[in-house]
């Protein structure tokens, strides 16, 4: 694997899932701090204790040097309310991992399986593993343990899914026509032979119903050996697909009762290539909190230094 290749002036996208508008790369850059609430307690002797909230929220400061009025109005229509109250979605394709912090770091944030789910009760047990011999990420403390007990009986393809954080969305909004890669490291427990696992991306409509999916195929993985699985695909057409969801499936006929898979370094990226793992901060809906409009004296068909400020909001 090679380092990520450069991305020069890629467009960004804004709007409602399934109805995104393309905007030119902001020449003055994007300020995107992932803000966590921090409290600094000062003790009587001058020491400090710092507490923080487990979650965070990103604020996007999107700044252009200038926009033609046509482009400006693509954004302005949302600010004026003519596209409804929102919230909307802002997609910056340079974001390396679209999964939530806890998903991307395989439960290392919450120390539990927040963000992970199963297809059915028969699909085993998903827990947070703290045995560092089963963690792939250097320095990492946790991985996902997916145990299969065959009680109740397995479904043919037990499945684990990565749920979106925002409950109104059945999946993560995507930009039609762009390539996406879903990857993770997986290791069956040491004392089993081989099993088959697949990485899949499901394309969902507005209700969460599956439209189609793309799979890596059933890949054979060996007990005690970390294997990286990935699937790369160009996204489905915009409609009826509006969302995507990454899932891990295994082939029940290749499982041993009681065996576990360990999964780490989970990543869903807008990329045509498989890159090194990076932490994710999730794709959250955003609300517009600021939008400026300055008309230059030379050409009234332009707006100079328009600045858009967006805040990720909760469900």
């Amino acid at each position: 694997m090679a380092p990520r290749v450069g991305r020069y002036e890629p467009p960004v996208y804004f709007g409602a899932p399934g109805a995104l508008v393309q905007l030119p790369w902001p020449r003055s850059g994007i300020n995107t701090p992932y803000e966590r609430q921090i409290f600094d307690f000062l003790t009587g002797s001058g020491g400090h204790r710092v507490s923080s909230l487990i979650g965070g929220s990103r604020q996007y400061g999107v700044n252009w040097d200038a926009l033609h009025q046509t482009t400006f109005d693509r954004i302005n229509q949302y600010w004026l309310g003519t596209m409804g109250p929102g919230p909307f979605v802002f997609i910056d394709p340079s974001r390396p991992n679209m999964l939530s912090p806890n998903q991307s770091a395989a439960s290392s944030v919450w120390n539990d399986t927040t963000g992970f789910g199963k297809f059915s009760d028969a699909d085993g047990y998903i827990t947070s593993n703290s045995n560092m011999t089963h963690v792939h990420r250097p320095g990492g403390t946790r991985s996902i343990r997916w145990q299969h007990t065959n009680s109740p009986a397995w479904t043919p393809f037990p499945g684990m899914l990565l749920k979106t954080e925002y409950p109104t969305w059945p999946g993560i909004p995507f930009v039609a026509g762009l390539p996406y890669t879903f990857s993770f490291w997986v290791k069956p427990m040491d004392d089993v032979g081989t099993s088959q696992v697949a990485a899949k991306i499901f394309w969902l409509d507005s209700t969460g119903a599956e439209v189609s999916n793309t799979t890596s195929g059933d890949i054979t993985v060996t007990g005690g050996v970390w294997t990286r699985l990935s699937v790369t695909t160009t996204s489905a057409p915009a409609l009826p697909s509006m969302f995507m969801e990454a899932r891990v499936l295994c082939v029940a006929s290749t499982l041993t009762a009681g065996m576990s898979f360990y999964i780490d370094e989970v990543m869903l990226e807008q990329s045509a290539t498989l890159n090194d793992w990076a932490p994710g901060a999730g794709i959250q809906p955003v609300a517009m909190t600021q939008w400026s409009e300055d008309v230059p004296w030379v050409d009234a068909m332009f707006r100079v230094s328009p600045g858009l400020v967006l805040r990720e909001v909760v469900g």
């Binding site: 204790r49 507490s51 923080s52 539990d112 119903a209 469900g315």
Partner: protein, 1017 residues
């Protein structure tokens, strides 16, 4: 060390979102995660939770001024965007078969709370009546289909219910009642039911649509105001084909049978786990009859239009789902979340009741207070209790007051309990159920006191009644009850929920349960005194010849070998004992013991703690017991006695056909609503003239016993006397020290001299009850009684008094000679009844005009007059020295008493600083002296108090002791007890403001100096 300990010891902990639940009064079908009763996702930036003790001291010297002992919560609320998803999938289906009779379907064994459970019945023949059904655990249930399953499937009947699973209903039985025995249920594969295969229930999940639009809709019978609620259309169906596959076609058969059911809709959260399609679960085929299928899956509701805080919580916005809900009733819980190595860990910071949801500008907040505090706003009037005869420890008064407010220190009585006496400091029962014992006595061989006051010890829950039989002393307490036709009518206290007879053809099944202490018992002593068993009870009926026992149940613990026994006897031909092998140990510990019997069946059994034994049948004769208890008494008298010569507590007598096999009170899950300890202060008499607020009574008792009180994080009432704070658990620092080096900001330290009082005068109501009876009402106003009438009148007594309303309720009629001579018979209440209004007529006998006391309290008496004559009669006389009516009673004499104590050393140093404290609940001089002395000791020096702000730790609670250190600043150090804690949460900030008072380590007998430690009992 737990994961939480580790997390909170970190200098950089991470907080996870708190949990905030408000149980709005809505059906279960609309509860659960993501519904209106879970406000966790609507928690705003800030929350403030305060808990504090009130130390019960007079206002001028309290260290807890401003304390709200009720606990309060105030949390910011945001609006609502949408619902949270929940996992949706199938539980393990269950099925069964049955022919005829009442039908029962078993629910899946893995049903979880709030699951949607589908229960289906299929009927082959007959017309059934489904007007009654019972879902497990009272789960809210709606009938969603009852009709033909379609011509294509044979036109048989299918009945389908949908339930919202209540807690603890996994594997429960859904019972369809009112089914006659000749009805046949189920699908058959043979005989006349040939060609009928398996039976499936299907759920068809359709496209998401707006299922509630406009301003209101109906969910499970609840009309809710809503706008644009979306959900999946789910339709139910069945199939009985041989392929056992539910298809849309087969599902449609149900719909075609009743097209209106096309609108049966459940609101299901959108999730990737379930989409459009048909989902079926099939019963096992191959049995002769199969009738039921229980399946279930979690269910939450779908998204809806977002609202901000003012829109969502406005009481005028009919589009809000909570617009119609009361904002002062819902139970509220608040859990603080900490990220640990085991995942999020939550600590309860508040339990209580919503008090308001105010909307201010664009924000809203939720205010809540203690539900127990609100419950204790009830007005109560304690019964008249004579301390010297029955005992009147203040713990009993509190226990009784709490019970009247729905709170309990010990296990509450069952619906079948006819008598419950906790013995928490008095012989007076809490539940009489027609069995109120009308005579009690305690024998104490020390000084050969035949009728001493009962004595009290620490009990299994609060207090217990003492008993002893040793080489040096016998203490026996006796409870007795008798009823006959000539005495007060035998009635059951139906308010106590005791609808069953005790010993009659109507019911002869009873159970007596109690806790006893395994004290030694000496059968033979060197002196005379009461003999018998350590515990012995009798319930018996005598006919008109007192010596002629017709039926007797005797139970107890045998003196010779401490085994539990029961005797069923008619005192003639059938007189049989059963001795179990259950033996009360001599270990000084409290044990639960119980005896159960069924006279008609002749069965008996006994239980101690976890073990039980049952006898073979003891022969009895049904004819020995009459048709009803009331009939019993009409024919003779019925009596019930109990004697104890070992300590006992919490006596329950249950009656009813099911009590023989009912769960024992010990085995029913119980969680005390109260945390308290026995008090050392007693009353001469409990005689509240009027009903008072229960909380006010508790506050007064706190002052009289120097106790502190509050409601805690679980909304239990904590009533803590001084001894409570001397216990090891309350004197040992439990958590990490508060130190300015690590977790504490600069403290506010106060060594407060303003509260110094070195000369304390306690004003109290010095009270006695005269043991000799005197005239407590001398009434000389004419009373007119209409002809052939019953007249009930209530009179205020001339003096506060105790009246014997059971053994001496009737009045003596004075004769003309007695009136003329001014001679009043000794020891009786009397009336003078005359034919003329001026008393110059003829005096009436008791057969003509009579009077009986039917009720009394300390300040009034209610008398029922009966005039059997055909003309008007009068309570009057023409004498000069005789009242028209006199009521005999034991007068209560109360005077204001004063006790003063002082501390000479403090006075010599600071001069005299006086505290005058009026404490109405102190009635005995020795108690007043003790309280005055304690107050002087507590107040003769400056009070050390400090207020600190510390980095938050949700485990801290008022009452805990902390090691405090400010080495670099004030040099504050030592042990301090928290009296109040305010939790401040604001985003990532979590601090606590703690008020503390200085304390000392626990004392060790024979080692510690008296004034350098904290002592417990």
């Amino acid at each position: 060390m737990t994961a939480l300990d580790d997390a909170l010891a970190s200098p950089s902990p991470v907080w996870v979102p708190p949990q905030l639940q408000a149980d709005w009064d809505v059906p279960r079908a609309y509860r659960g995660v993501g519904t209106v009763d879970d406000l966790s996702t609507q928690h705003g930036e800030a929350a403030t939770i305060s808990h504090s003790f009130d130390d019960g001291l007079p206002d001028t010297v309290t260290t807890t001024s401003g304390a709200d002992a009720g606990g309060v919560l105030d949390v910011d609320l945001t609006g609502r965007g949408t619902m949270y998803a929940a996992t949706i999938g199938w539980r393990t289906p269950a099925s069964g078969t049955q022919l005829g009779g009442q039908a029962t379907a078993t629910w899946p064994v893995d049903i979880a709370t709030d699951d949607l459970v589908i229960t289906a019945f299929s009927v082959v023949t007959g017309i059934i009546d489904i007007t009654g059904w019972t879902a497990p655990g009272g789960s809210e249930t709606v009938l969603i289909y009852n009709g033909d399953d379609g011509a294509a499937l044979g036109g048989n009947r299918i009945i389908v219910f949908a339930s919202r699973a209540a807690p603890g209903t996994a594997g429960g039985s859904f019972v369809l009642a009112h089914v006659a025995s000749n009805y046949r249920w189920g699908w058959s594969t043979n005989g006349v039911y040939a060609n009928q295969g398996g039976f499936s229930v299907g759920v068809k999940v359709g496209a998401p649509v707006t299922v509630l639009s406009g301003t209101s809709g109906t969910i499970s019978g609840l009309t809710v105001p809503f706008s644009g609620v979306r959900g999946y259309v789910m339709t139910m169906g069945s199939t009985r084909d041989t392929t056992l596959t539910g298809t849309d076609t087969q599902l449609a058969n149900v719909l075609s049978a009743d097209p209106s059911l096309a609108d049966v809709r459940f609101l299901v959260q959108r999730t990737g786990l379930i989409g459009q399609g048909s989902y079926t679960r099939t019963m096992t085929k191959g049995v002769s009859n199969a009738y039921s299928l229980g399946v279930g899956f979690p269910l939450t509701i779908d998204d809806r239009a977002p609202m901000d805080a003012r829109q969502y919580f406005s009481p005028y916005n009919t589009a809000s789902p909570v617009v119609s809900y009361d904002r002062d009733l819902a139970p509220v819980r608040y859990n603080f979340g900490v990220l640990t190595s085991a995942g999020p860990d939550y600590t309860r910071l508040f339990t209580g009741q919503m008090s308001d949801v105010p909307v201010k500008s664009r924000s809203a907040s939720l205010a809540a207070t203690s539900a127990r505090r609100l419950a204790m706003m009830r007005s109560v009037k304690p019964p008249l209790v004579w301390g010297a005869k029955e005992g009147a420890n203040m713990s009993w008064l509190l226990s009784w007051v709490w019970y009247q407010c729905g709170l309990s220190v010990s296990p509450k009585p069952a619906a079948t309990t006819r008598y419950w006496n906790p013995l928490h400091g008095s012989l007076r029962e809490f539940v009489a159920g027609g069995l109120g014992f009308n005579f009690t006595s305690t024998y104490d061989s020390l000084g050969t006191v035949a009728n001493s006051a009962p004595q009290w010890v620490d009990g299994p829950f609060l207090m217990g009644m003492y008993g002893e039989r040793s080489a040096v002393r016998t203490v026996r307490s006796h409870l007795g009850w008798t009823r006959s036709a000539t005495q007060a009518p035998f009635t059951r206290d139906t308010d106590a929920g005791a609808p069953y007879d005790m010993l009659s053809q109507a019911n002869s099944t009873c159970r007596v349960s109690m806790w006893v202490r395994g004290d030694p018992y000496l059968v033979t002593t060197a002196y005379t005194g009461p003999v018998g068993h350590p515990v012995e009870g009798n319930i018996q009926w005598n006919d008109n010849t007192p010596a002629n026992v017709r039926a007797r149940i005797q139970y107890g613990i045998r003196n010779s070998d401490r085994t539990l026994f029961i005797r069923l006897s008619d005192d003639t031909t059938n007189d049989n004992f059963w001795f179990s092998t259950i033996t009360l140990p001599t270990d000084g510990a409290w044990h639960f013991v119980s005896w159960s019997w069924n006279w008609k069946a002749g069965t008996v059994k006994a239980k101690m703690d976890g073990g039980a034994e049952q006898s073979s049948t003891l022969p009895t004769v049904d004819g020995d017991i009459p048709s009803t208890d009331a009939g019993f008494i009409a024919l003779g008298f019925m009596s019930c006695t109990m004697d104890f010569m070992i300590p006992c507590s919490d006596i329950y007598i249950d009656a009813g056909p099911n009590v023989y096999t009912a769960p024992y009170v010990r085995d029913v899950a119980f969680s005390a609503d109260i945390v308290t300890r026995p008090l050392d202060v007693a009353l001469e008499i409990i005689a509240e003239p009027v009903a008072r607020e229960a909380w006010g009574i508790m506050v007064d008792v706190a002052l009289a016993s120097l106790s502190s009180y509050r409601t805690d994080e679980l909304d239990r009432v904590v009533f803590a006397p001084l001894s409570y704070f001397g216990e090891a658990a309350q004197t040992t620092p439990q958590l990490v020290a508060m130190d300015t080096e690590s977790n504490m900001a600069d403290p506010d330290v106060l060594r407060d001299p303003s509260r110094i009082r070195n000369n304390v005068t306690v004003e109290f109501n010095e009270t006695r009850v005269d043991t000799g009876k005197t005239m407590v009402l001398s009434y000389s106003t004419v009373i007119s009684l209409p002809a052939s009438s019953w007249t009930v009148l209530t009179f205020a007594l001339d003096t506060t008094a105790i009246l014997d309303t059971i053994t001496s309720p009737t009045f003596t009629n004075l004769t003309s000679g007695q009136v003329a001579a001014g001679t009043i018979p000794a020891g009786v209440s009397f009336i003078t009844a005359n034919t003329l209004e001026d008393g110059t007529g003829t005096y009436m006998t008791s057969s003509q005009v009579s009077a009986v006391i039917i009720g009394a309290d300390s300040d009034s008496v209610t008398i029922q007059f009966r005039n059997t004559a055909s003309g008007r009669r009068y309570i009057v006389n023409n004498g000069t020295d005789v009242p028209f009516m006199g009521v005999l009673g034991n007068a209560v004499v109360s005077n204001t008493g004063y006790v003063t104590t002082s501390d000479p050393a403090s006075i010599a140093k600071r001069g005299e600083r006086t505290l005058s404290a009026s404490i109405g609940y102190l009635q005995r001089r020795q108690d007043a002296t003790m309280i005055s002395g304690l107050l002087t000791a507590m107040l003769c020096g400056p009070t050390t108090v400090t207020d600190v702000t510390v980095f938050g730790d949700p485990r801290r609670t008022p009452g805990q002791v902390f090691t405090v250190d400010d080495a670099q600043g004030t040099s504050l150090s030592g042990l301090w007890r928290a009296t109040a804690i305010t939790h401040n949460r604001n985003d990532a900030e979590y601090t606590q403001n703690i008020s503390m008072v200085g304390t000392t380590p626990p004392g060790v007998w024979d080692q510690s100096n008296w004034d350098e430690v904290t002592w417990s009992d």
